[in-house]
Structure formats: structure tokens, C-alpha cells
């Protein structure tokens, strides 16, 4: 823990976490749509304000968090999350309910996170992947639940194998991980049910 004070969380925890959740729910229900989180948090770098808001809205003592190396090396990040959520920090990605990724282009392959079981596919990891650009055009073509026809989404930077990992993640449906891409305050969801091609 560094000597700096822990950054404040939500100004109005009840109201703010509802607003963040509602945006996250609408994003999950409409993959390919980019939602702006209505709450600004002053999170310790390299934690993006959007990732911090999602974590504070959804994580607590019941949800182990995995931090990627870029986040794990900053003691302020773990301190911020532990103080505001009480969530345990785990070292293995497949033990995590939520995985926070700041260095997206060096992130582990998606199959290393918990995919749940066929009986309990809900016991899986949800990833918050921070990216620099997030656009609703170009990139991947998405179809499936939540999308009328087709949608487009592009996020960068990501590992070169990421598209193949996404396809493999969809192929094991109903198992698999669900992903929120985060760029600043903007988020877009990519649940496992979505079919992706380039």
C-alpha cells in the first residue's frame, strides 16, 4: 500500500451503483451498443474510471477479483478495490468472478478464465477489458441475442489471437466468459451467446 490516500468511491453509493448497473445491463442486453457510464470516478491509474465504476457497482465479498499484471503491480489499485468492495483478490484467472484487464494486448487467453460448467454456466468469469479505442463500426460482425440483424464492434489494442479466442468462447456455449470492453467511461458488452466473425 502506498502512502497516498485511497481515492473516493461513489458519492451516492445506492444511486450511483444503480445507474452504473443499469447502463451495464442495457449494454449486456444489446451487444455492440456502446453505453456511457453516468458516473465519473477518480480511479488510481491504470484503472480506467469505467472499470472502477463497474467494479464498485458489481463486486463485493462474494466475488473474487483477478487483476492482470498491469493492475496488480500498482498497489493503489488493489487497495482501492479492496477498500470499496471488500472483494478478495485472487492470483489464478480461473478463480475469478470478475477479471480486470488494463494491459489488453498481453492478456491471458480467454480459456484460462472460468467458463462455468454445463450444469452451472453462470459460475464463470466476467471480464472488464480496458481498450484505447472502442467503436461501433468495422472490426467484428456480431449477431445473436440482443441484436436485430447484425451489429459491428471494434476494440483495440487486443492480442492477435483474440478473434479466434472469442470464436472458441462462443463455441463452448452455454459455457464461456462474458466481456465488457471499457474505454474511459464508455462500455460495450460481448456476452458468450454472440456469434462473431470478421
Amino acid at each position: 500500500m502506498s502512502e497516498t490516500a485511497i481515492a473516493p468511491g461513489f458519492a451516492d453509493p445506492g444511486r450511483d451503483s444503480q445507474a452504473v448497473f443499469r447502463a451495464a445491463m442495457m449494454a449486456m442486453a444489446r451487444p455492440g451498443t456502446i453505453c456511457k457510464l453516468p458516473v465519473a470516478l477518480d480511479a488510481p491509474a491504470p484503472l480506467a474510471p469505467g472499470t472502477a465504476a463497474l467494479a464498485l457497482a458489481l463486486c463485493d465479498f462474494e466475488t473474487p477479483i483477478w487483476l492482470d499484471p498491469a493492475l496488480a503491480t500498482e498497489a493503489d489499485v488493489a487497495g482501492f478495490l479492496k477498500f470499496h468492495t471488500g472483494a478478495p483478490i485472487v492470483v489464478h484467472p480461473n478463480e475469478a468472478a470478475f477479471a480486470l484487464v488494463a494491459g489488453a494486448n498481453e492478456m491471458p487467453a480467454l480459456h484460462r478464465f472460468a467458463p462455468g460448467s454445463l450444469e452451472f454456466p453462470d459460475r464463470s468469469t466476467t471480464l472488464f477489458v480496458q481498450v484505447e479505442t472502442l467503436r461501433k463500426d468495422g472490426g467484428w460482425r456480431l449477431s445473436g441475442p440482443g441484436i436485430a440483424g447484425r451489429a459491428h464492434l471494434s476494440a483495440a489494442p487486443l492480442p492477435p489471437t483474440f478473434l479466434d479466442e472469442l470464436k472458441a468462447n462462443h463455441a463452448v456455449f452455454p459455457r464461456g466468459v462474458d466481456i465488457y470492453f471499457v474505454a474511459g467511461h464508455r462500455i460495450a458488452a460481448l456476452p458468450r451467446a454472440i456469434l462473431i466473425d470478421s
Binding site: M25, R30, L58, A97, S117, L118, P121, P145, P174, P191
Partner: protein
Amino acid sequence: MSAVGPTSAKGAAPPHPAAPRPPSPDGRRTGGADGYNFAYLDEQTKRMIRRAILKAIAIPGYQVPFASREMPMPYGWGTGGVQITASILGPDDILKVIDQGSDDTTNAVSIRRFFEKTAGIATTTRTREATIIQTRHRIPEEPLADDQVLVYQVPTPEPLRFLEPRETETRKMHALEEYGLMHVKLYEDIARHGHIATTYDYPVKVDGRYLTAPSPTPKFDNPKMHMSPALQLFGAGREKRIYAIAPFTRVVSLDFEDHPFEVNRFERPCALCGADNVYLDEVVLDNSGGRMFVCSDTDFCQERRAAGHAGEMLARAPSFVAGQR
């Protein structure tokens, strides 16, 4: 203590429970009954339910177990739906609650009051105005919009439960997508009655994967679930399950090639508003066989009458059916 009467009241009367609460000093309507969190549930419970809702949307039709809380109403009165509504509700939401299509039956009124009291939110009976619609066993006749959320109260979330009582077995059947038993059940309907006799809680397959109970809505409403622009959330409080159908998701009612799925047909239009192709309730009028068929969706019926539509019995229908004229 003297008898309670107009003269025995001491001091100012307490405010009516449904009276709007004044805004807080910073101008925001925070709402909520004194001593309770916004929308009754505590924040940790809401987070747990919200996580279940996100998983439910990500795996359409799969029943996510959740730690259902005791609510200040009995099981069977919509505790699952109420917990979902309480968890998604924000201060700016406008809530509509229907029970069998009606805004003014006991269950709908009490749940609407519950949220007026505990969240201080605005409520409506108009389908179009609502951002969240909690429903017991109907889908509104008016097509829903893509910014609306439909919350179902579900008694039995497991469509296979009456065919296989063991949770371990039904869970395995869902895991292996082994749904032959349900087809056998529908086949037995045909063998016995000549047609599929299931009329409500008619099983659907969501996005080609999970067999799902639409809750005991009439099968008339099943086609409205298919590619609905609104997000559909299902809550079963006693059974501790949440499931969801994302917007624009394929929802197919099970059937056979030679016995295709069919919705209920009504011989006549609504006797009050003249609407065709809507779900009708039978209303018994007297002891000598008098009866009429009227829209189950009261808001839809009232709006049509306000727009000048009239059914054949509108002029002579009793006020307990047609309301005040």
C-alpha cells in the same frame, strides 16, 4: 383510550402513505420509506441480484440460481418479480404493474404502492409511458419499445419440473439439451385430446438452446416474446431463480410439423372496445347465464375507448366492467 373517531384524533394526521414525498434538499427525489433503503432491498442484495441478471442475459433462457430474500409479501405474490424490479429500479423510472393484464387488481395495486412507498418513484397505468413493466401472467397488447423492461413474476421457473421432480436431473437435462420428455408430454396431449391442450405456460425454446417457461402467460402471448425489442426478465422468488430473454432473441414455441403451434382464437371482438386479435377475459354478469368477453389488458381497452372505439356492449355494460362513464 377513547373510541377512534373524528373528534378523538390528537395532533396532525400522518401523511397518506401514497402521498408524494418532498424532494431532498439537493433537489433529487431520493424517495424511500423512512428507515428503509431505496426500493426496500439492501445494497448487497441488489448487487447479488444484479450479477444474476447480467448472467441471465448473457445465457438467454438459463435459470440462474440466486439468494432470494424474504419479502414483505407471501410467496406466490410476485416476490421474484419484486426483487428484480427493486434491483433495476432507479429514481427516474416509471413503473407499471399488471396482474392478468389489469392495472387495478389487488396484486398489481399492492406492488405499485410498495414501490411508490419504498422508492418514491412515479407509476403509471399506460404501457407506453412505463420504463419498467412488472407483470403477472400477461404481456401488454401494445407492442413494447426497446427502452422498456418487462419483469415477469414466475411461480415455476423449471418447465420440466412437473415431468421430472428432481432438480439434479432437470439440471442435467438442460446441460445436455435433452428435452425429449417435453415433446412426449405434448405428444400425449395430442394422443389424448387430438391437439396440444397446453394453453398457458406453453414451453418455449430460447435462441435455439434452453427450454424455458414463459411463466403462466396464456400461449396467446408466446409470439410476442419472439424478437421482442424489450428486455424480458423473469424472477421466481420461492424457487430462487432468475432468467432472461435479451431483446431481439428467437423464442420458438415447441410443436410438431403436423401439429404446429397455434394461439387461442376468440369468436368475437372485445365487447367494450371492439378490438380484434387481443386476449379476452370472460366476465359473468348475472345468475342467468349473462356474460361478456372483454380485453384482459385494461389499459389497452381504455385507450381504445378513449379514442372512440366501441364494442357491441359498451353502452349497456355494468360499471364494474366498463368503469365510470
